[in-house]
Assembly symmetry: C2
Homo-oligomer: 411 residues x 2
């Protein structure tokens, strides 16, 4: 494969994670060091930055600030949720992207995101091939949801999982403090896949603390849920439930939509998050003291609790993307293949973008117990290696010192 000279773009897309910038850093650092790569640009707000001709000059950034990217949460370059058209229907965006690629002589394009972003990446790659513009295109996975096809796991998942398990352990300690008993309902993200919620099971490895886990992969049954919780509460006066925001009834209705099922005791409808809703229903049924806790955005941005393994692997995926492009690879996503026999080994592995785009990997049913209210040991064996190691986040005055980019636009 002949050497291809030109610029490189890295774009970040979709919801951020604690470690998405570690992947970006893997791309940027490797690209800055590659002689063939003339310029390294960050697309401001993902593909919108390309369409709007807003490219950030990574060459202009201070080395020390770039070095802080792996420990900085959220998309440092900005993100977007932009669904690109089918080029056969409307190729306006693609012609514009080609124009910008030509303007800056872009020959390397990395896009970091989830299912939709891999689709974007795939479409751009195919378009460039069709019009004969020589450009290598690589997808870098990123999603706390861990629902991408093929890859053993997704960068970003492990840090969220570590935060969830840590928080569940801490809340469980808090919930035991009075002898009056309590039912605590903790809500995790994951609209369609239960990977994040399942991470609560990791909390049990150190000490049993999480009683029930409900994932969207199993139809939710309110009567069964109330029976589960009531029995456990009656038995030990304490019950910790972790539930996915995406749990739904057999007919597909989200439980969180059935908000009027509970009342506040004065006959008013009790709205709010799923955790609050379920906590209130439990209170009505059992008379228990209840707490509803929504982990909210914190689970995807708590960089202070990121997984060292996740940070390193996210970096690896970005680095590998550039290395592979330099070797001539294109049209692939850099995922992972892992081996958990005799310790944990993780290697980058390439997947065809066409295979990855728009497919959601659900939590396996066989890793959920028969009753549908907990996850099984094989999941713990799968996830535990991913959350190992701590962040090297620098602290100044006791608080995180995140990267501060100058963000100089290319002209």
């Amino acid at each position: 494969m002949s050497k291809l000279e030109g610029a490189c773009i890295i774009g970040q897309s979709g919801g951020p994670t604690s470690v998405i910038n570690s992947s970006a850093y893997g791309v940027i650092r490797t690209a800055l060091d590659a002689p063939e790569i003339t310029n390294v640009y960050g697309a401001a707000h993902g593909i919108k930055g390309v369409l709007n001709d807003q490219l950030l000059c990574m060459d202009e950034e201070d080395r020390a600030e770039l070095d802080r990217l792996p420990y900085t949460p959220s998309s440092a370059l900005g993100s977007c949720r932009y669904k690109i058209a089918d080029p056969d229907q409307d190729d306006t965006d693609y012609r514009r992207i080609l124009e910008i690629f030509k303007k800056y002589d872009v020959r390397y394009f990395c896009y970091n995101g989830g299912n939709d972003s891999m689709d974007t990446c795939n479409k751009i790659s195919k378009y460039m091939k069709k019009v004969g513009y020589d450009c290598r295109v690589m997808g870098i996975p990123k999603t706390i949801d861990n629902d991408l096809f093929g890859t053993d796991h997704c960068p970003g998942y492990a840090s969220a999982a570590k935060y969830i398990a840590t928080s569940v352990m801490e809340v469980a300690r808090d919930a035991q403090v009075y002898d009056t008993g309590m039912v605590t309902v903790i809500e995790c993200m994951g609209r369609h896949a239960g990977w994040l919620t399942a991470a609560a099971a990791l909390a049990n490895a150190e000490e049993p603390c999480c009683d029930f886990i409900y994932l969207p992969e199993v139809d939710f049954d309110m009567d069964k849920f109330l029976a589960d919780v009531s029995a456990r509460y009656a038995e030990k006066k304490n019950c910790i439930v972790v539930v996915s925001e995406g749990v739904h009834y057999a007919d597909g209705r989200f439980v969180s939509e059935a908000k009027t099922a509970a009342t506040d005791g004065f006959g008013h409808a009790q709205l709010g998050g799923l955790a609050a809703l379920l906590a209130n229903i439990v209170k009505e049924k059992t008379g228990a003291k209840v707490r509803g806790i929504e982990l909210s955005l914190l689970q995807r941005c708590a960089a202070h609790c990121a997984s060292g393994t996740d940070i390193a692997e996210s970096y690896l995926s970005g680095k590998t993307a550039v290395e592979q492009m330099l070797l001539g690879t294109t049209d692939k996503m850099v995922g992972f293949a892992c081996d958990r026999t005799n310790g944990y080994r993780c290697e980058p592995k390439l997947f065809a973008l066409t295979d990855v785009a728009n497919y959601e990997k659900k939590f396996p049913r066989e890793w959920i117990n028969a009753e549908g209210n907990n996850v099984l040991a094989p999941f713990v064996d799968y996830a535990m290696p991913l959350i190992q190691g701590e962040t090297k986040l620098e602290k100044v005055d006791g608080l995180p010192r995140f990267a501060r980019l100058k963000k100089v636009f290319a002209k």
Copy 2:
């Protein structure tokens, strides 16, 4: 002062903190090492453990587990919210406490808690004096609310403050990720005092990220709030608001009670936490994308993000309580006197229990700006030293390894 031989009890009361066990450890460690102290007991669930004759033998615990207490959140001995009667009205509880003290030859009693607990401590101390039972009684402050009289600050506050500031910094990064703009409302604990909410201002020391802070010490004005947020959102398309759960209107009504003020767009009343309520009102007014985030219990139990200074000072307060009792001191609370000129120095200082009991220290009005929507530099100078340093929490398999006590009951 002659030497007094006998047993020592440590009790934990009220809502837990990330470091309440560090104070307990200060008591336990120092008492175990004191020749005069024959036995060291932990009261199971605070004063209820004394009343119910449920004392835990600290002498029976493994040294390695006790050594983990400073890094273990929530009350390891169990807590209670038990309001003891006025002894002049009803001395039943006091006679029972005396009976238990006599049964176990208790001559040293430490009680760790907030305003109410200092009141309990004070009443017990006065009663023992009245009936001529020789027992030394010390209060150890503990409250994330930081609202105890006299002491410069309260053990437990700084760790919650550090967690809040860290989380605000992380959420602020997350909120900037799209170019579509967002208003984020973060709700902190503190029903009557704004110390916790004010901690969000520490997040601004590293980089400006928190736009407005509303404390219960200033009457809340919904129109002013909406004007503040709308103007800031119009100016920079992004606005982070941190608000105390205890904000209230001039007539005293809590804003969180006025839940029916907002609707969900379908005419249904929008209930839920204060953060969700305010976020929805902002959405109606500005059309902005909004997020409401309640930090919930996490702010008082996130031991993984505790302040090293707080851990050390909490230990110091417990240790000093025992040392002082051995010297003959009684009827006091061990607070802190601090000097912030030429660096930060913190010394234990004794306060009369009578002065401390049942008094709430509000956030000073002069540390709030004239507009009532932010806090001023003197607060940052006050609080910043308190959040310095990190926890030494041991991790096993990437997760916290908290203390596990055997909890052997005394007979």
